[in-house]
């Protein structure tokens, strides 16, 4: 595949290196404030651990639109708490990291502000207990993510990735909104907790299918599930702290969160299992295979994130208690090691000058802290005992066996994925640091504490949580699993279960993982070949879909809005004909039989009009056309006289002649009518339909009796009350004077407009006409 500049991210694109003026002192201090705030929030959330562990639930509700039952509502339970802890805890470290990472960069303020805003949105998302509240924060993460991915907006790939992330997650968000509203209306409440409380009632309802589809679309796009997984590697255009935070630890887990949250209501069905398992497993496999294809460490991690998300989704689909435990545990495991590894890669990028795996080697001595952090995180990732990753893998295998429907499928997928994680862990933690002479684009050294503190703490926590496995299980994992399942969980997490099937699987995993690591280069080459041979990636598919949408839009719009007035007019009159004939066809009522009993003078006048109308259409002489128009207008005014409408007749007469005079003046300048291109049959058909429709409706009107109350009132009050004997005039200037006021306003404005058009036209012409007199 050739790289073009249309917006695909170059493999080793640099980021955040723009030099700028250093931050002033106060500004610099302010950069660290979000980190402190997040840390305080983390501590505050920690205090809830015991209560939540006991199964308590906290709520916070403000009224918002009471008329529609919409509230600004929050709920803190096990699931919410663990996410809140991840958001604030990892957030604190990443804000700190970002402050260091962007120190001296004028854009530091912007990115930290955006990160902080994102953290708020993410926190709101996981704590929301109201449909609108949830969606508010859900879209909040979409928008902040858009702005963060497009942070390096000068780069075409960053703009493309930002728009891609916006569109894909935006689509999911809209689907989710649809699902939320549907479910809310079904449940009669917009409170998530109340929807969930309905439990299986939802899956038995008729709306279950659409609701499920919409929720899954929302969750899958947000959590980069196949076939929407492509946006996540693209989003790596964002600076490393952003990738670490949004695109590994938190935002991409929003979809997973949603599935976990809705599991009691939407889960437990065949379709739920199959969809989640198949999509989760596919995502997992795709992510792991393409992770090996990458040479950019960040891209590699991004693909393993896709894999991790697939794993989570697959286990949420599992439906058993063990599966829920597995999902809950892996959620924590993944967040910790993946954030640590991302931050570590950021350190490498900043201090060694590249993220290309082949350009980095033997830096363990130069960057000891970084190397240690990498090692700790990688151990957890690979599932080494006693890291929490080990726990995760064990539970995962146990969960696979527990799955009722297709344990072999699930276990097999998990096996391949875990082996791949081992391989990637080895690539990331071993390759750059050990067993080789130092090699890097620039002299490597450990970064400042703000940069290494995050990876070290996160990776260390992976060890700690593994060591205190029972506590981790009771305080963190079980409440989450309880939320997923919608019922209390009684499971005891232990580091050592003795030798069982899961342990054997773990050992086999290491073997396969090691094999993958050793054969990484040939695999990579093979994948590259497959890619080159025209295998279409989802990312390309996205482009094609987008192009397809644009092409469809252009085709449809080009056909309709084609810039040709006649086609607009044709459509407009055709619509009018359809409206008229539709109304005639779909209605009844009196249809009088016409009678024709008028004096000759009436018929003569009408005949004049008809002859003149034909003349206007047929004649090629413009003067004859104008003269015929004059004849029609005059005839109409004679008809007005015949029926006693003398005022109207006078007005009509003078207006008509003025029109004729105006036309005659304008025709002095306007060009001759070009030869008619024959008779336009289609137009004539439309015109005839319109005309005939008007006639039919008009005759129908004549079949109804006319209530003359208004006219009688005017006739009786005109002379005695309004002091005028010409009833028509009194209506015009007294009874309905407001009409006349508007009407004369029309004349004034028409005159202003016409003068403006013509004067400006004359000025415009003066610029080009050479024969113009000077001073004109």
């Amino acid at each position: 595949m050739t790289q073009t500049d249309t917006g695909t991210m170059p493999a080793a694109a640099k980021e955040g290196e723009t030099a700028g003026s250093p931050q002033p002192g106060i500004g610099r201090a302010l950069l660290f404030a979000p980190s402190l705030v997040a840390a305080l929030a983390f501590v505050w959330f920690l205090t809830f651990l015991p209560a939540i562990g006991r199964g308590e639930v906290f709520t916070l509700v403000y009224p918002w639109i009471p008329a529609l039952g919409i509230e600004f509502a929050f709920l803190l339970d096990g699931l919410g708490l663990i996410f809140a802890l991840l958001v604030t805890g990892i957030g604190a470290l990443i804000f700190l990291y970002a402050a260091g990472y962007f120190l001296g960069d004028p854009r530091a303020g912007r990115i930290i502000t955006l990160l902080f805003l994102f953290a708020i949105a993410m926190l709101g998302l996981v704590l929301a207990d109201d449909v609108v509240t949830l969606f508010l924060f859900w879209e909040g993460t979409t928008v902040t993510s858009f702005l963060l991915v497009g942070f390096d907006y000068q780069k075409a790939y960053a703009r493309r990735a930002a728009l891609q992330a916006l569109l894909v997650t935006g689509m999911g968000g809209l689907a989710l909104l649809g699902g939320l509203i549907l479910l809310g209306d079904f449940a009669g409440s917009y409170r998530l907790s109340e929807m969930i409380a309905m439990g299986p009632a939802v899956s038995e309802a008729a709306i279950y299918g659409p609701v499920l589809a919409l929720f899954l679309l929302g969750a899958f796009t947000k959590s980069a599930q196949f076939p929407f997984h492509f946006w996540l590697p693209g989003a790596m255009a964002a600076p490393t702290p952003v990738s670490a935070y949004l695109h590994s630890a938190t935002m991409v887990k929003a979809g997973v969160y949603l599935l976990m949250r809705m599991n009691p209501a939407l889960g437990g069905t065949e379709v739920w299992f199959w969809v989640l398992t198949i999509f989760g497993a596919t995502t997992m496999l795709i992510g792991s295979i393409w992770a090996l294809r990458q040479t950019d460490l960040k891209q590699m991690l991004a693909h393993t994130t896709v894999m991790g998300l697939g794993t989570l989704v697959m286990f949420i689909g599992g439906g058993t208690e063990k599966a829920a435990i597995g999902a809950a545990l892996f959620l924590v495991v993944h967040a910790l090691y993946k954030a640590a590894l991302f931050l570590m890669v950021g350190c490498l990028d900043k201090k060694a000058g590249t993220r290309e795996v082949d350009d980095l080697a033997g830096l363990g001595r130069a960057m000891p802290i970084t190397a240690w952090a990498a090692a700790l995180a990688a151990f957890s990732m690979a599932g080494m005992i006693p890291f929490v990753g080990f726990l995760g893998k064990e539970v995962m295998y146990e969960a696979s066996f527990s799955v009722i429907t297709e344990p072999v499928l699930v276990a097999g997928a998990a096996y391949v994925a875990n082996a791949m994680m081992v391989a990637v862990a080895l690539i990331v933690a071993v390759g750059p640091f050990h067993f080789s002479a130092p090699r890097s684009p620039k002299p490597a050294m450990d970064p400042s504490w703000t940069l290494w503190l995050g990876p070290v703490l996160l990776a260390g926590l992976g060890l700690v949580l593994g060591v205190i496995a029972p506590l981790t299980g009771d305080a963190v994992v079980n409440p989450v699993a309880a939320s997923i399942l919608g019922r209390p969980v009684d499971y005891h997490l232990k580091l050592w279960h003795g030798v069982n099937a899961a342990l054997i699987m773990s050992i086999l995993t290491f073997v396969l993982g090691f094999l993958f690591w050793r054969t990484a280069r040939p695999i990579r080459a093979g994948l590259a070949g497959a890619q080159a041979s025209g295998l279409i990636s989802a990312d390309e598919l996205y482009d094609r879909v987008l192009e397809g949408v644009r092409a469809t839009a252009k085709a449809v719009t080009g056909r309709l809005q084609n810039g040709v007035l006649t086609s607009y007019m044709r459509a407009t009159f055709a619509a009018l004909a359809i409206v008229l004939w539709g109304a005639i066809a779909l209605s009844g009522g009196p249809r009088p039989t016409p009678s024709f009993d008028l004096p000759l003078i009436s018929y003569a006048t009408m005949a004049i009009m008809l002859i003149a109308t034909a003349a206007v259409i047929i004649t090629r002489s413009r003067l004859a056309a104008i003269a015929s128009l004059g004849a029609i207008g005059t005839s109409i005014s004679i008809i007005f006289v015949l029926y006693g409408a003398i005022d109207v007749a006078l007005t009509q007469l003078m207006i008509e002649i003025l029109v004729v005079v105006f036309l005659a003046i304008a025709l002095l300048r306007l060009p001759r009518t070009p030869e008619r291109k024959g008779f336009r049959v289609g137009d004539a058909g439309i015109a005839a339909a319109v005309g005939l429709g008007v006639t039919v409706v008009l005759i129908s009107v004549l079949g109804t009796p006319l209530d003359l109350t208004l006219t009688e009132f005017f006739e009786e009050n005109s002379a005695p009350v309004a002091f005028g004997r010409n009833v028509v005039n009194v209506i015009l200037v007294d009874f309905r004077a407001l009409d006349t006021l508007g009407e004369i306003a029309v004349i004034v404005i028409a005159a202003i407009g016409a003068v403006a058009a013509l004067k400006a036209g004359r000025q415009a012409a003066a610029k080009t006409t050479t024969t113009m007199e000077p001073g004109e």
């Binding site: 300048r669 306007l670 015009l732």
Partner: protein, 127 residues
């Protein structure tokens, strides 16, 4: 009731509509004039005008004579005629202006705001 007028109205509307669908803006103007007239006549017909006397109260009288024409539709038509004239006069000015600007009164050749998709594009044209 005057069904014959209803038929005349239909023919005027049809003829006018046909002309309004023409690419030639002058013919469009002719069509507009026709349809405006037709609509006035339609109101007139719908207003159940009867062959009769003008709606004038005789001097010293209290109300109009028996069989006087219905005054209300007359007032409406009068208003409509004048408004229609304003619109027509403006449209005429616009067509003239379009001709001065584009050198043509053929709407198919007036393609500035919505240019041909693949055609030339005038850079300076945006106002």
């Amino acid at each position: 009731m005057e069904p014959s007028l209803a038929i005349v109205v239909g023919i005027l509307v049809g003829g006018g509509a046909y002309l309004m669908m023409s690419a030639n803006l002058i013919r469009f103007l002719f069509g507009l004039t026709l349809v405006s007239n037709a609509v006035n006549l339609a109101i007139f017909t719908a207003g159940r005008m009867t062959y009769g006397a003008p709606s004038l109260v005789p001097p010293g009288g209290k109300t109009v004579a028996e069989g006087a024409a219905n005054a209300l539709p007359q007032a409406l038509i009068l208003t409509a005629i004048v408004i229609g004239f304003g619109l027509l006069a403006f449209t005429l000015s616009l067509v003239l202006r379009a001709y001065v600007t584009f050198g043509t009164a053929n709407s198919a050749e007036i393609r500035e705001a919505e240019p041909m998709p693949e055609g030339r594009r005038d850079d300076s044209g945006k106002g």
